[in-house]
Assembly symmetry: C2
Homo-oligomer: 211 residues x 2
């Protein structure tokens, strides 16, 4: 017996397609929306329909933006000689929130992941390499995720930059004035050494700093 | 500096209004939708806009339905003398999935909750009492949630039914042929006695059955 109206079933199915939302959550959200006034449904509906309209990709950093170049690339207050390479537009928001970075970004739109058939050509790595060669870049900060795909992507980018800018004296981390850095691995603030996994703790010891 | 396009901000805000979705999840869902083809956005958007169109409230059981009476109330295969009282339309789906119930339902659309200003008059209790009096009802199963509000609602309904149908011989659970029952409390299937909370375990012992 079909218990639910078609319109309810349809919305549950739409919610289920979203990442991290299972059948239970999808039903809960749908039944919640049944109690919401129609004008709020309309505004939610319009927000979904229009999320991509009026957004474009910044031709310089590939971030999602309303303008080209994006506000960060266009800002005179940002240091264009430092590029922070991230996987997703959402990572730009995270780095911006720290207030610790006043350079510019490069958004890869993913990470190298052979299991999902995502190779370097699916990402904006070519564009990054062009930027590195043409601009007066002093530092590339590789801020891909500290997981297997993110590490592989960081290693690939580092190798490609080295291939294009062979170091003069064999010093890898300083190629004709260009520094390649990777964000630090270590214990998150507030963590407990007792419960840290061994890989993270090992990285924290390796990356120890003078105090 | 405004980093995100307006359309993206708007969708994040819409998602944040949903129950159980915080700012992080709202951003994650929004950025996921940026990668989705427009026709899928359109179908999601339409599903949100139309979730309430074409749904109505069954005049008999107050469940969300496409027809009036709803498919369950209209079905000749359901036993109309047993009413299962639930808080929400979604609970009807849960009870139906068990396959253990072939009666009809009554949806209260909430539970008595003085802190949220929800009293008996905000629920469909009056309609339930009318049903109980006019129809040939043999049993009322109170299937409100086993939490404070659900228990209070169940107690209130029981008291009101008793007031309207004073028991002949002082036997509460059998008023002129009408039985009022409450779904059983006890250990969930697959649970571990060691980790059960004392209230649940106490109820499981009180509600023990011959074996």
């Amino acid at each position: 017996m079909k218990i639910l109206p078609d319109s309810v079933e349809k919305l549950i199915q739409s919610f289920e397609k979203l990442p991290g939302i299972g059948p239970k959550t999808a039903s809960r959200l749908t039944f919640y929306l049944l109690h919401v006034p129609q004008h709020e449904l309309d505004s939610f509906s319009d927000a979904v329909k229009n999320v991509r309209l009026g957004t474009l990709t910044c031709s310089r950093c590939s971030n999602v933006s309303e303008t080209d170049p994006c506000v960060i690339c266009a800002s005179p207050n940002r240091d264009e000689s430092i590029i922070c390479v991230v996987e997703q537009p959402i990572d730009v928001v995270s780095v911006e929130k720290t207030g610790k970075f006043d350079g510019v970004y490069h958004v890869l739109h993913g990470s190298i992941n052979p299991l999902s058939n995502i190779g370097p050509d699916e990402l904006t790595i070519d564009k990054l390499l062009t930027r590195v060669q043409s601009d007066k870049i002093k530092e590339i900060i590789l801020a891909t995720n500290p997981d297997m795909e993110g590490e592989a992507t960081a290693m690939y980018i580092r190798r490609e930059i080295l291939r294009l800018n062979p170091p003069a004296g064999g010093q890898n981390s300083n190629l004709n004035g260009l520094k390649i850095t990777r964000i630090a691995h270590g214990l998150p603030v507030g963590a407990d050494i007792e419960y840290a996994d061994e890989v993270t703790l090992g990285r924290a010891i390796e990356g120890r700093d003078e105090y």
